[in-house]
């Protein structure tokens, strides 16, 4: 099996999907000749032509609006938003249109647009190349929201997304585009939507994370082990639909929870997880669930390493919870 980084795995997934199904088209800014500013769509235009790998004008609302039309026509459009910070001009098309199309037509129409977009900080991108806007979409019924943390899941989840008929926001943790490496099957395979993975078993504390923050989380879990705290680490992968069973099962075992994500804390996804855990495992809780998140400020430039949850901050939270 080849060893790919995240970029290569995604590129491979796209190629696999396009070869298999000639209704799959890619559209976005600079995705064609350039192959994307991160090169996720590298060489695809050469193989599939400018009709299927389309460089669009600079208008995210146009990209998503036309992708909706394409999906209604019966294509399988994969739209790239160059940075998730630039998804907002398309917010109305996503939230009012894409997410609600099936519902409002009473199921007459479906609208399986996939929106791929790099998200998160840690690349010295400042306010506008670092945001983690997943909570906006998690709060929007009708969308599925995915975020892989490694090449294997990236390919498998993207192929799964193409195999179902709902709109998907597919966040790509751009900080680890190159650093996350792993074996990726050359053939087609799928990683199920709606399933989390217990990456490491543990009995003392449950640590829930996803995307790039799995890197820091994994490291913190290792360090905790040195302090004899056994942390169970869960990679959510699929934020909507959520694998409630795996999350709750783990919390019932450990009674203690730390949740790690990059976005601003208030009303972020970590809050939802705390609420859910309260509803479903209140009597098992032995300590208050701890959120380790970004701050309630815009994303900074120079001090991004302070803004982003660090191994230290996570470890501190683990200790605090474990020794509550």
């Amino acid at each position: 099996m080849p060893v790919y980084n995240l970029l290569q795995a995604l590129n491979d997934a796209l190629r696999t999907a396009m070869r298999k199904n000639d209704r799959v088209v890619i559209l976005g800014e600079d995705v064609g000749k350039l192959g994307g500013v991160f090169r996720v769509t590298k060489d695809l235009q050469a193989e599939f032509g400018a009709d299927r790998v389309i460089d669009t004008p600079l208008a995210e609302g146009g990209i998503i609006g036309t992708a909706i039309g394409m999906a209604l026509y019966g294509l399988r459009p994969i739209a790239e938003i160059q940075f998730s910070d630039f998804i907002y001009p398309a917010f109305d098309q996503i939230v009012n249109e894409l997410a609600k199309y099936r519902y409002r037509s009473g199921g007459q129409y479906e609208c399986p647009v996939i929106i791929r977009t790099p998200s998160g900080g840690g690349i010295k991108g400042g306010l506008y190349h670092s945001q983690s806007p997943e909570a906006y979409f998690i709060h929007t019924p009708g969308l599925k929201v995915l975020m892989p943390s490694n090449p294997y899941d990236a390919k498998g989840l993207l192929l799964s997304a193409l195999d179902q008929n709902d709109p998907v926001i597919f966040f790509e943790p751009k900080r680890i585009y190159r650093s996350a490496k792993g074996e990726v099957p050359e053939s087609e395979y799928s990683v199920p939507i709606g399933k989390a993975e217990v990456v490491k078993q543990g009995k003392d504390v449950t640590l829930i994370s996803y995307g790039a923050m799995m890197t820091e989380s994994r490291e913190a879990v290792e360090k905790a082990l040195e302090e004899e705290v056994q942390v169970e680490l869960i990679d959510l992968k699929s934020l909507v639909p959520l694998d409630v069973e795996t999350v709750i099962g783990s919390v019932q075992k450990t009674g203690k929870v730390v949740i790690v994500n990059e976005a601003p804390r208030t009303c972020g996804f970590a809050a939802e997880l705390v609420a859910l855990i309260n509803e479903k495992a209140f009597l098992y809780l032995e300590a208050p669930p701890v959120r380790v998140t970004g701050f309630d400020t815009p994303f900074p430039y120079t001090l991004e390493h302070v803004y982003l949850p660090s191994v230290d901050r996570i470890l501190k939270a683990i200790r605090q919870t474990a020794h509550f």
């Binding site: 209704r23 088209v25 009709d51 299927r52 389309i54 669009t56 004008p57 208008a59 609302g61 146009g62 998503i64 609006g65 036309t66 992708a67 909706i68 039309g69 394409m70 999906a71 209604l72 026509y73 019966g74 294509l75 459009p77 001009p89 109305d92 098309q93 009012n96 249109e97 609600k100 199309y101 099936r102 519902y103 409002r104 037509s105 009473g106 199921g107 007459q108 129409y109 479906e110 019924p141 009708g142 599925k144 179902q164 008929n165 709902d166 709606g194 909507v240 639909p241 959520l242 409630v244 069973e245």
Partner: protein, 367 residues
Amino acid sequence: MTLKSEAAALNGKPVQVLKEDGSVIDKRLEPSLSSEDLKKLYYTMVLTRMMDERFFKMQRQGRIGFYLSSTGEEAAHIGSAFSAEKEDWLFLQYREPGAALIRGFSLFHFACQILGNSGDLTKGKQMPCHYAYKKGHLLSISSPVGTQIPQAVGFAWGAKIRNEKSAALAYFGDGATSTGDFHVGMNFAGVFKVPVVFICKNNQLAISLPVQKQTAVSNIALKAQAYGIEGVRVDGNDLLAVIQATRQALQKARSGEGATLIEALTYRMGAHSTSDDPRLYGDEMTLEEWKKKDCILRFQKYLEFKGIWNPDYEKEIQTQAGEEISKAVEEAEKLPPPSYDTLFEDVYSEIPPQLEEERKGVSHAGL
């Protein structure tokens, strides 16, 4: 002869095929229509107006919650929808009930949608006048103004990519031209030479705002130039001009020559909706003037010239239309509201576990 050349010569004045007295100005622009076509068109116009009146009244009686009528604008949407082929698809704004009728959306389903009952194809999920009818190639109507424009472009673009014949018709109002979606839709259509026909029903009002305050260039057709798209301004109260323009635009779309923006200049004769009161901002003078230009009247005169229309004929179809509407409403009003389960259907292709829990909570509560 193309409307384009005609339009250019008119320098902003909308192209007409019919004079206000119903006579034909230039035979070369007169669309060929069988007498069956002509009758269908006239009947649909009359039916649409009567249906609008009935539903408006029903709202006032408290039998439905909301309605939007298209009185005075029938030619603009019925003429263009009529000109579309079966394989074409319509992206409506919300003020085109006659276009829906032309595409086979039944009065019964119309009434059910407006009642939001269990007979509604959209399962009572949307406000009145926000239907969807896939069989008739009517996309789903939504309230946010302008969103359907890039969607129609994407749809037609899909047909182009697949090398198939469908075209898309995107309907919108003068107000919609101010949205970002109008701009991006037009721009994409221009760049990718997409087989789409934009139909701007310029009724000169967006709720209370006159088109002159909506844009400094209230000749909407002119805006097409910014996108490398052909723009044609027609008299929107002239059914034949609308048909001719749409046919030419669709032919052009199908021959791979890209998009056209048709501006159908008309006037909103009534309130924006049942929630609106135009006495607060309206312009009586203009209204009176436009009443004289009524699109049904003009077409009626044309049919009279053709020997199709006479007062008996009018009486006959009015009776027929009235009965059709009554029957549809009566049937529809018998139906109960949708079941609680419909609340949770169609959010996703399948109900995910958490939503299923919410659904169960409701049925257990017996709310």
